[in-house]
Every structure is written in structure tokens, then in C-alpha cells.
Symmetry: C2
Subunit: 218 residues, 2 copies
């Protein structure tokens, strides 16, 4: 299926031209990001909690300690919403009113299920590491039995999702274009600084290339 | 009040040593960020939507079109949760299990109210612009009456909030420190690239210093 169905719950009602339902476009946003915000409701109180994630095929995986309130609740099969937002720039218009932000965001709605199959669980843990730092899994000590048991892994099928995207320069009111106000876009992106070796390293080891050349862009 | 009260809803149960309730520490995170994720519930379905915000004193302000589903619902005085997350680095451990992310996040719980007082509304609009780009308000055309009327402004009092913070190198299992695996932190931060002038600029204007020297750090 090339596009997500537009449901009353995912229909972009505000600025519909910014809406995007194409699966490839949505997956590209999910693959560039690595922090999502999970929303769930307990006793009528919504909670929004940031966490890491990975996408494998048509599902998002979440993981963590079984003691986590977010995972404990989400594991009970309640409805959740997961948002991933990438910020691309500040949009400076001539009027305060038309200031904006260039961004790409995805909102997923659905119900998560606990992964108990050990092989799928291990595959998901591999995906978390590889999603965060592609190339890393090969180098690290893989999870042993106790660690696997101490990790709750949830699978959220990607059935209902939409993206919202803003790009490009400001859009001012016609009369405002004559104002002597600098207008444009200040591009923003997540960059890495020089890696900091763990002071507890016991031998001199070269910094891996996947660290020095790290980038979220594919 | 120097600290937020620890309530059963904001108590950090998972890794409590990462919990932070100090008001200054929480406000510093809120002031460095500019995108929040708002969670609200409609017909038992939680939604998480990204939006801009500003802090003024002991309140967060949200704004947008009255047509926005997020604002329409939040304006009805329902319980909301607002999360702000800053990502500071990837934490590369020797084991897959101990990989982590350095971050500072704030979660606010509460109920928002619509601002109808015109002066407070104008002050909030000023705060949005100044929170996004300090120094900008002075240069732009301020909102006129129709724009003010077309903007829904919500105030969320900061009564119940907590932060969670992870810093520093990886923490590996003792036996793993002997493994010949590079470990450490890859610092991440939001940086700006060269500003892109609006192609529709009608005169040559210098790029303001608050654009060229833009930084979220205070």
C-alpha cells in the first residue's frame, strides 16, 4: 500500500496542503528521526513521554524497562499516539503573524503489542541500535538472556499515520513585501561535535567511522 | 516556590536519580527548547501534536489557528500533557544493552485556559516571536486587530511538572570494560546554517545579527 488511508482521525484539517499520506515520505521522516513522543491516557490524564524508537517494515518498535510507566501502560493494548518531529528551520516573515517553522512531522495512531518471541525481540534490539547509529551492532556485545528478559519490546503496527510538512520561504501579506525588514529562512539541523571517548577506556581504540561521519540524513 | 511538588503523576519512578523538580532547572530546559509536543485525549484516543510555545513567568503559552484540532480541544479545559525534549548526545556503550541518549526533557501536566484579554494576548504573541528569535519583535510589523482575532492563545499554568536528565559517559557492566570496543559520547546539538534570504526581498537588507549569531543556549 503506497499511501496511508486518510481517516477522520488523521485528516489534516488545518493547512491541508501541508498534509502527506505517502508511505515512503512518512517512512523517510521516521527513519531520519530517532526520538518520538508517545501519548497515552491514564485515568483521563494524557501523558506525553519521549523515547527512542526504530522502524522495521510497517511497524514502529519501542523498548525499555518493564518498570517504565509509559511502557507498562502502552503494553496493555491501550490506544496510543506517537509523534516524530524534525525541525528544519526558522521562517522569518516581515510580520510577526506570518513567522513560522519549517518542519517535517509524523503522527501515528494505534495500539501496541508486547513482543514475546525471542527472535523478533532480538531483531528489534538490533534495529534500535542500528537505527540510532548504523554500523554499531557489529561492534558491541549483543544482549544476553537476562538483558533480553529485562527489556520490554513493543510493536506498533503502522496502519494509521499522517505527516505534516512545511518548507520554503515566508509567505507574507502582499502589502508587507515593501517593508524594509529582512525576511528569509534560518536553516536548522542536528549536528554532531567531536566524539568524547569514555574516560574509562582501558586501551587506545580508533573512533569508528560511523561515529566520526555520523549523520541522520540517508 | 523553588521546586515543583512531586505528585504521584510526576514522580520519576524509572531511574529516579535522573529526576529533577527544581523550577530553575526546568525553566532553563523550557527556555532552550522551542518545540513542544502536546498530548490530549478525544474519545479515548490520545493525540500528540508538535507546536511552538513560549514561557512567560510561571506559565507556558500555546497559540495558533482556532481551526487547529489541538487548540480547539485544548481550549476546552481538558487535561493536557506537554513535553519538551532536548537531545544532547548519543551514548555508545560496549554492550548493546547500555546504549543510551543524553537528553534533558520536561513533562508538564495541567489544564489550559483561553486568553481573551487583548493586552495579555499581545504580550503572548510578543513572547512567541522573542522565544523563537530573541530580538526579532522590534523589527517586524506587529499583529493588527484581525490577526489578533484570528489567533487563539492558550495559557497553561506551570503547577505540575518534572524534568528528566541524562548526562555523561556510558555506564557499562564491569566485565565489559575490558572489551576492545570504542565507547563514549557523540555530542549532538541543533545548529544553524547560513541564512537564506527570501527570494521575494525587494531591497538589499543586512541579515540581522540575531539571525547570524543565532543560538538556543543562553
Amino acid at each position: 500500500m503506497a499511501s496511508f488511508p486518510v481517516t477522520p482521525r488523521t485528516l489534516i484539517t488545518r493547512l491541508p496542503k501541508r498534509g502527506e499520506y505517502d508511505r515512503d515520505a512518512i517512512y523517510q521522516i521516521l527513519d531520519e528521526g530517532f526520538i518520538c513522543h508517545v501519548g497515552f491516557t491514564v485515568d483521563s490524564q494524557p501523558y506525553v513521554i519521549p523515547t527512542a524508537y526504530a522502524r522495521v517494515g510497517d511497524a514502529l518498535y519501542l523498548h525499555g524497562s518493564p518498570a517504565s510507566r509509559m511502557l507498562r501502560n502502552t503494553a496493555q493494548g491501550v490506544s496510543v499516539s506517537v509523534a516524530v518531529t524534525l525541525v528544519d528551520g526558522l521562517v522569518l516573515a516581515r510580520s510577526a503573524f506570518h513567522h513560522s517553522i519549517n518542519y517535517r512531522s509524523v503522527v501515528v495512531l494505534g495500539t501496541a503489542e508486547v513482543i514475546s518471541d525471542e527472535q523478533e525481540k532480538m531483531e528489534a534490539l538490533r534495529a534500535f541500535t542500528e537505527h540510532l547509529i548504523p554500523g554499531r551492532w557489529h561492534d558491541v556485545r549483543p544482549p544476553h538472556q537476562l538483558e533480553l528478559a529485562a527489556t520490554l519490546v513493543l510493536r506498533l503496527p503502522l496502519n494509521e499515520a499522517s505527516a505534516k510538512i512545511r518548507t520554503g520561504p515566508p509567505l507574507d501579506d502582499e502589502a508587507d513585501y515593501d517593508l524594509p525588514v529582512w525576511a528569509g529562512v534560518l536553516p536548522l539541523r542536528l549536528t554532531s561535535d567531536a566524539p568524547l571517548a569514555d574516560p574509562k577506556m582501558r586501551s587506545e581504540l580508533e573512533v569508528p567511522k560511523y561515529v566520526t561521519a555520523y549523520s541522520r540524513k540517508k
